[in-house]
């Protein structure tokens, strides 16, 4: 009956990487000040998303098209960034 072992993998082996759900706040210097994202979610990636959103608000201003809010739509994830006095509040929500 050894072949049944093929169907009994441990939980860690079968876990599929889940898309993050939650929000975080980044100040104008790029420092993350608050987050409700799961701890398992890579901090570097959180920082990278934060930097992109901060940069889009900054660059939009330099080309005279200031933005208040940005919605980034991936096939599986929606990222919403809201301008917050030079910083930003960022929401991540998997697409259902």
């Amino acid at each position: 009956m050894g072949f049944l072992g093929l169907f009994s993998k441990t939980a860690s082996e079968t876990a599929v990487a889940k898309l993050p759900s939650g929000s975080f706040t980044i100040d104008r210097t790029g420092r993350i000040v608050a987050s409700t994202l799961p701890r398992s979610f890579d901090e570097k990636l959180t920082q990278e998303i934060g930097n992109i959103v901060l940069e889009v608000f900054l660059k939009a201003q330099t080309v005279n098209l200031p933005l208040k809010e940005v919605f980034i739509h991936y096939a599986g994830l929606k990222i919403t960034g809201r301008e917050l006095r030079g910083g930003a509040m960022i929401f991540l929500a998997p697409v259902k």
Partner: protein, 379 residues
Amino acid sequence: MRLPFVAQKNLDSKKFTAKEIMAERHKVLILDDEQDLLDLYRDLLSKLPSQPEVFTANSGARALALLNAEKFSLLLTDLNMPGMDGFQVLTIVRRRFPALRTVVMTSMVDEQIRARAYAMGIDLYLEKPNEKTDVQLFVDCIESLLEREEAGGFRGVQSKSLVDLIQLECLSQSSSVLKITNKSVEARIWIQDGDVIDAQVGELSGEAAFKSIMSWKTGNFEMLAADPSHPRTIVGSYQGLLLDTAQAIDESQATEVSAKGELSVAEGGTASPLGAVSRCHGVEFAISVDVNDKSKVDAWGIENPAAMAAWVHSFMHQLHVVGEKLKAGQLMKVEGMGVQSNLGFLSRPDKELCVGLRRNFTQSDMAAALNEVGTKWVS
């Protein structure tokens, strides 16, 4: 007395397709630094009987970029603006787009300023409407200007065609030289004792030049002193000449109408690669940049395409990279809600696109507009 234009009859009786009607709509550009006023003017002018396409710009540089990208019938401009003021814009417009009708709308009530504006060749000087009656007057004035544009006519003699002018001169048995300018082209028609004796434009002379000049729809004219010593190259009567010309214009207009129809099918009515995108509802400007080479840029209605292209290229690249790290799937679109304009970003394997959309668009309006833009852009 007006000659019977067969061309006009033919155009009136022709049934236009929706695409041709779109291509024939007047385009009006409004320049003001106050965004609320731009929105108000846009609403007012969109309801005109002639249903013009209304574009707005909040800076002189942006207005000039739009004028370069599209052929407009009318420019409405404020005078008091930061950066490039209305007079500076009008100076450039007079030089680059001499045929464009211009209207100044200002809250400055000053006779000197009014005189200065008229000296620059504007068509109308209006004070910004304050009351309901002013608003109606403003709307009527603009509609009347657009109607005049439709009827053609040479500035200096309202509602008179070139044919009228020549008939007037010939019927009164006058001798004169008619100097006509259309944009940067200058032409002359010699009239001697009520007969057209010669015409010159560029390298053309005689009947060929006369026919070419008569095909112009707008321009400026000046009566110069007669030149009796000028040699005669046209021997026929002026009536015969005008009838021949009318027929030639008729034929060329018929060809022009069918050519316009074909162009609008192929390119959405403009020669720009983003022509079809620019025709989408609510699009104020557009820029596309090559994924592999950010110097390969197509822009429509943008004053600083290089800076904008660099930004679009780097922003979209960052999003693709982070999307891969997140394993979030394909980047579908990006929507930005702005203070002056909303922005929409779309991606194709070879190009990235950014469009400016009206700032009063809601998120659902944005989604609909981006869907339309996406369809046109991909196709």
